[in-house]
Amino acid sequence: MHILETHNLTKTYGDFTAVSNLNLHIRKGRVYGFLGPNGAGKSTTMKMLLGLTHPTDGQVTIDGKTYPQDRVSILKEIGSFIEAPAFYGNLTGEENLDIIRKILGLPKSSVGEALDLVGLTQFRKRLAKKYSLGMKQRLGLAGALIGRPPILILDEPTNGLDPVGIHEIRTLIQSLPQQYDCTVLVSSHLLPEVELMAEDIGILNHGHLLFEGTMEALRLQAHAAGFPMDNLEETFLAMIDADNRKKGGAR
């Protein structure tokens, strides 16, 4: 069952097409790795999934609901982390999460749980603007995870984290579907990380979806096309390179 789908999703800015006829199918309770080089359209797609950007054409369906009529109902089910950590620097970590908690109508205990989940409990009284980059990233993640939403959309969640932090977040994301019956859409440039945590993969280049399916299906397709299969990074680079060559050497 697909909890999140896009139907010919397209976004154009003047004569530039950021996302073109994208058809994503994300299964319930899975971790979906969304890959693509810089400027491929990943963040634009994620913004459309959150209703931050209106698509030029096509539609997003989340748990049977669509934008813009079901916006509030959809956003109640989604925890998100887009582009960079988003918070109020003049408030403490705890106060930031309390604002989100009140909007979502969650119990008070959810703030402590979220802080605990990302390892920020001892820094909860510190102003968010005084957090280190990694701590801000964790606060952003806590804002997405608070209340255990059924769908998580995470754009580069491990940016700015040290190797220990990356490992912790990866383990956390991996455990979410089993622990909370949660569906996760995660984009990352760290391909080995995605390889370790994602069960399904979508590869985007120049706004077009080059591949969508399981890791196993990706290996089979790579084998058939003669791409290297040693690891996801090799396969990804070969796939992007072949697509760029096909489109006339454009990067």
């Binding site: 509030v72 003049n90 408030l91 009140k102 979502l104």
Partner: protein, 241 residues
């Protein structure tokens, strides 16, 4: 609920101290003015409260407009500085509701400041014109009128601030508007109705020209139109993003 959350967001931003400071300075102005040159005003014929309004309100209204500009800039700088606004956009809350609550907060604080300003002016009138009679209903009406004619300025400044991620642009736009409208001729009725110009009007000035109701209606209409402008901007932002 949203109103309380919007109030919480202003914690440690300097918003309340800024309004408090501006309120104290504007309330001190007529007192200092009377202490320095009371003979100039006590010798004038007419209603003492109106004399004091005519002598002081221009400066007090200017301070009210300037603090409104600063307040709107602080509010939206807090939203944009660390992407708080982006987080709000991904939560199940209507962006126009956030704008409305910011408007309510500013309007409420401005109401308190204007009320204190009018109380101080009344106090000055009672102290320096001891033999005069005062119509306290008219004084209250003055406070209400000055608050109402300030609302379009509040809404326009919040609209400008919501559009500018860079606080310096909204601050600059506000300051330019203040000085642009202050050089417009005050005898032109249409120009007097505009935001940034209307707050300088006093009840007695409007009363002389039998324009009180018209002033009030136009200001309410302007506020509603500017609010609608923000609604359209919020929608357009999604298409342009």
């Amino acid at each position: 609920m949203t109103f309380i959350l919007e109030t919480k967001k202003l914690k440690r931003t300097g918003y309340l101290p800024a309004f408090l400071g501006a309120g104290i300075i504007s309330c001190a102005f007529p007192v200092v003015n009377m202490l320095a040159r009371s003979e100039t005003f006590t010798s004038l014929p007419g209603n003492p409260f109106e004399i004091l309004m005519d002598a002081n309100w221009q400066m007090m209204a200017m301070l009210n407009i300037l603090i409104t500009i600063c307040g709107a800039c602080i509010m939206y700088h807090t939203e944009y500085a660390d992407n708080g606004a982006l987080k709000m956009d991904t939560l199940p809350v209507k962006p126009i509701r956030l704008f409305f609550c910011k408007f309510l907060i500013t309007a409420e604080i401005l109401a308190a400041i204007i009320l204190f300003q009018i109380i101080v002016l009344t106090g000055c009138a009672v102290y320096w014109f001891p033999d005069s009679a005062f119509d306290f209903l008219t004084i209250l009406k003055t406070a209400g009128f000055e608050w109402l004619v300030s609302l379009p300025t509040v809404t326009l400044m919040l609209l400008i601030s919501s559009m500018c991620k860079n606080m310096w642009i909204s601050l600059g736009a506000g300051v330019i508007l203040v000085f642009t409208f202050s050089i417009f001729p005050q005898d032109n009725f249409v120009l007097r109705l505009l935001p940034f110009s209307a707050p300088y009007q006093t009840l007695s000035m409007a009363d002389e020209n039998v324009h009180i109701q018209l002033f009030c209606m136009v200001c309410v209409l302007q506020t509603a139109v500017l609010y609608l402008g923000e609604t359209l901007y919020v929608k357009a932002r999604r298409y342009l993003a």
